[in-house]
């Protein structure tokens, strides 16, 4: 009956270590000739056990500061974001498999023009104080990011929201000035955490209160926090009885803590030691393709970047494979000069990958009427691991094409205010955004505040607006394909790669085998999704 015993053995092993989900396990075993019932049996007995409750889960967390705070509009550090997903909840969530699922909102729907979205709240959602989550809380939480005088970094995300209405039946409606088919995908943005409302309708974020899977027992910013399960949580999971986050900013200390067993999981491993860590039988490394992105935007209206041939020459003169291999040690997904990662929905996989080709670069340089080109490229060590090395390597790649890239190493301090959006060509890191629409609207739309390449393209903007109003997935995918092509061939941004999320756990910590590409640590839902084995 079983056609392929070796495949089955491999599958069972993969299931045991938790690197394959139940669904894929079933699919593959049936492909190997096992009947459905036999496959179910295999999964249940010989393979990985179902999630178990219990235990204290200790996590070494990077990027925590004494200056961290509770205002979700000012969330910026990874500790704050992790806290947001542990203590607080969002209207919707990115599931482990990358799809969109319910959180505080149990279902949602739009009018056909995608200008009104109604979210129905889960009646079970409860704050840690015991109060039910009401429409009033949702309004307060969202209005915190809107309107005059809002200091929220998410203000731009909700700019098209004209009005928010409490429907009085446990649902809220967002009325938009322009269609936004992606609105439910914006809701898991880490700033848009649900907090309780004050009497006067403002958001009470100061208390740190939330309606997420764990409640705070003890919290000191820059040091760590301990949590216990919130028994009235509306979601599924939260297997650990207790959770402890320990801020460990030093990568070496973090990894040592994981190796010695002082912690059970550890965020952000260093790429250069991945190979060594993976050899340790007590440690499992998770290497997850993400929508984070390294971009190299040129100001499209500044010479010499105002000539598309010059831009193409620069795009052809970077060896992306070598950068991924030497700078990220393989922990990245290749870029193709359009800001749409394979980890986002609607990814146009059929667009041809641009390869390193100094001859083509030379050709385009000639088209631009140039024999050689001298350009300055600003970067800083803090952008990403090996950022300066990556720039220098790029400069070497470009030499055979007659392009002389002068790498300018800028100070880490003040990079976002003095270099980004100021210097005509620099290196930038972008956090993962949930959809191509969010990304293109933030940084490529004609009037975007962060249009880092000063990108202006009529057709691109037209399709972008059309896609916002299109609720048909097939048609939207076509539109993102077109936008990808335009950015790739006419845009002003070189995109070398999308860095992976790389994190580790002790071998006795298990997860479903699928990990959300939204953030580190399973979209920072590790506390509610993972569990201890036996």
């Amino acid at each position: 009956m079983v056609k392929d015993q070796t495949m089955l053995d491999r599958l069972t092993a993969a299931a045991k270590e938790g690197s394959v989900s139940r669904r894929s396990f079933m699919n593959y075993s049936m492909a190997a000739g096992v009947t459905a019932s036999a496959a179910t049996g295999l999964w249940g007995t010989s393979a990985k056990a179902e999630p178990k409750r219990g235990g204290k889960f200790r996590v070494a967390q990077h990027d925590g500061n004494t200056s961290d705070q509770h205002d979700p509009g000012k969330y910026q550090s990874n500790f704050e974001i992790s806290y947001g997903h542990t203590v607080r909840a969002y209207l919707t969530m990115i599931n482990a498999d990358g799809t969109l699922g319910p959180d505080v909102a149990s279902e949602w729907s739009a009018t056909p023009d995608a200008k009104e979205w109604t979210f129905k709240l889960n009646p079970a959602a409860t704050f840690h104080s015991g109060a039910k989550v009401t429409a009033k809380d949702i309004l307060a939480s969202m209005n915190h990011h809107r309107g005059e005088g809002s200091t929220s970094a998410a203000k731009a995300l909700l700019a098209s929201v004209e009005d928010l209405v409490d429907n009085g039946d446990g649902s809220v409606t967002f009325k938009l000035s322009a269609p936004a088919a992606d609105l439910p995908w914006i809701m898991p943005d880490y700033h848009l955490a649900i907090v309780p409302a004050n009497e006067d309708g403002t958001a009470n974020w100061q208390s740190g209160e939330g309606c997420g899977p764990y409640k705070v027992v003890d919290l000191e910013f820059g040091v760590g926090a301990t949590f216990v399960r919130h028994d009235e949580w509306h979601g599924e999971g939260a297997w650990f009885d207790e959770v402890e986050y320990l801020v460990i900013n030093d990568p070496n200390a973090r990894q040592t803590a994981l190796v010695t067993g002082d912690v059970d999981a550890c965020s952000l491993l260093e790429n250069k030691t991945l190979g060594l860590l993976a050899r340790n039988p007590n440690v499992e490394v998770d290497n997850v393709s993400s929508a984070q992105c390294i971009t190299m935007p040129m100001h499209m209206d500044v010479a010499p970047f105002d000539n598309n041939d010059v831009r193409l020459a620069l795009k052809y003169s970077i060896n992306r494979e070598e950068l991924i291999e030497k700078i990220t040690f393989g922990a990245a997904t290749i870029g193709n000069d359009f800001h749409h990662s394979p980890a986002m929905p609607y990814f146009p996989a059929e667009i041809e990958q641009r390869a390193y080709d100094p001859d083509k670069a030379k050709f385009h340089l000639k088209q631009a009427g140039l024999d050689s080109l001298d350009v300055s490229f600003s970067t800083a060590e803090s952008i990403t691991t090996g950022a300066v090395d990556a720039a220098i390597l790029y400069a070497e790649h470009a030499k055979p094409a007659g392009i002389n890239i002068k790498v300018v190493r800028e100070p880490n301090d003040g990079y976002w205010s003095d270099v980004w959006l100021v210097k005509p060509w620099c290196m930038v890191t972008w956090g993962a955004r949930p959809t191509p629409d969010v990304m293109y609207t933030l940084a490529y739309k004609d009037d975007a505040a962060w249009n880092e390449s000063h990108f202006q393209n009529e057709r691109f903007n037209e399709v972008l607006l059309q896609a916002k109003a299109e609720l048909d997935d097939v048609k939207r995918a076509e539109m993102y394909h077109e936008m990808g092509m335009i950015s790739r061939d006419e845009g002003a941004t070189v995109i070398p790669y999308f860095p992976n999320f790389v994190y580790g756990r002790r071998a006795n910590v298990k997860h479903s085998g699928q990990l959300s590409p939204a953030w580190q640590m399973d979209g920072y839902r590790h506390a509610s999704r993972w569990w201890f084995e036996g």
């Binding site: 910026q76 203000k155 820059g222 002082d262 003040g414």
Partner: protein, 318 residues
């Protein structure tokens, strides 16, 4: 005794003036950093609109001298204001962290000062022997390596390979004192290794310097055994420079430990200062720096008083 009290009074007064000058320098250095606090808080997510709103909320729309004077008017009454970023009282941000730093410094000092001084006496006694050479090479090696490197080496052997001490020195509230000493042993040991060499070599040099003096020769000629010559006759005259070096090293244990804190994940004040500087959180930076400055001023004063007390000749400068 009166002259010492007068000295202490004068020096404390001078110390206050120094603190004031330091606070002005720090304020304007923070101002000089590229970007302001609103930009640092919002980071890549800053737009013109929310920057303006945040600046207003944080009171950054006022000119710098006005903000400094506002802060100063509170600081005179020991109210160091609130952190601009989190809005919490500076004292509550810093308080516990400073106590942690003091604890670690005390732990390291209790080990390092007696070890360094007795080692110093011992190597002075056995000068130019193998023991002297080995002690010198070892302590010089440890002082020459950066602290984080020493820390990593200790972690590699004591935590990862031999599993004797925990690799991270994170604290929890319900820890017993013994557990606390065990958890913080590696960071304390790192600090000990860093400061011992300086104090030991100063002790050795100060003693050997005196061994050529006529009164030591006299003692020797009388037949006093070498150890007694050093401890009874040379050491009392050598205290002044030793105390000075000890004071400097104690100050270092409090102010210079940020690398050790980072490597061992110890919640001390150094990390607070680094975070505050990167966010331009001026009241916190100011409070940390003033604490560090006051530490130096007080320990220097203590060193001078100690030197005078051990050497009555210093009371009557010619």
């Amino acid at each position: 005794m009166g002259d010492i009290l007068k000295l202490v009074g004068q020096r404390l007064g001078l110390g206050l003036v120094i603190l004031l000058v330091i606070s002005i320098i720090i304020f304007f250095m923070v101002e000089l950093l590229p970007g302001d606090i609103a930009q640092a808080v919002l980071g890549q997510g800053a737009t013109e609109e929310n920057l303006t709103a945040l600046r207003k909320e944080m009171g950054l729309d006022k000119p710098a001298p006005v903000r400094y004077l506002q802060w100063l008017s509170g600081a005179v009454f020991l109210d160091f204001g609130n952190s601009i970023v989190t809005g919490e009282q500076v004292s509550s941000v810093i308080g516990q962290r400073f106590m942690n730093t003091l604890f670690l410094a005390a732990y390291a000092a209790v080990i390092s000062v007696p070890v360094a001084i007795s080692l110093g006496i011992l190597v002075a006694l056995l000068r130019n022997s193998i023991f002297d050479r080995v002690a010198n090479v070892l302590t010089l090696t440890s002082i020459s390596s950066p602290e984080f490197f020493l820390g990593y080496i200790l972690i590699l052997y004591f935590a990862v390979k031999w599993n004797m001490f925990p690799a991270i020195a994170s604290l929890s509230k319900d820890m017993s004192f013994g557990e606390l000493l065990n958890r913080t042993f590696l960071p304390a040991l790192t600090l000990v290794l860093v400061v011992v060499a300086h104090m030991m070599r100063m002790t050795r040099a100060a003693i050997i310097n005196l061994l050529a003096s006529p009164y030591i020769e006299m003692a020797r000629l009388k037949g006093v055994p070498p150890l007694k010559v050093i401890v009874r006759h040379a050491l009392p005259n050598a205290w002044a420079p030793i105390i000075n070096v000890v004071a400097l090293n104690l100050a270092y244990l409090i102010t210079g430990v940020v690398l050790v804190e980072v490597v061992f994940v110890y919640p001390g004040i150094g990390q607070v200062l680094v975070d505050a500087v990167s966010k331009r959180d001026f009241p916190v930076v100011q409070a940390c720096c003033l604490i560090f400055a006051a530490t130096f001023i007080l320990l220097n004063l203590a060193a001078d008083v100690g030197a005078i007390l051990t050497n009555p000749r210093l009371r009557h400068p010619k």
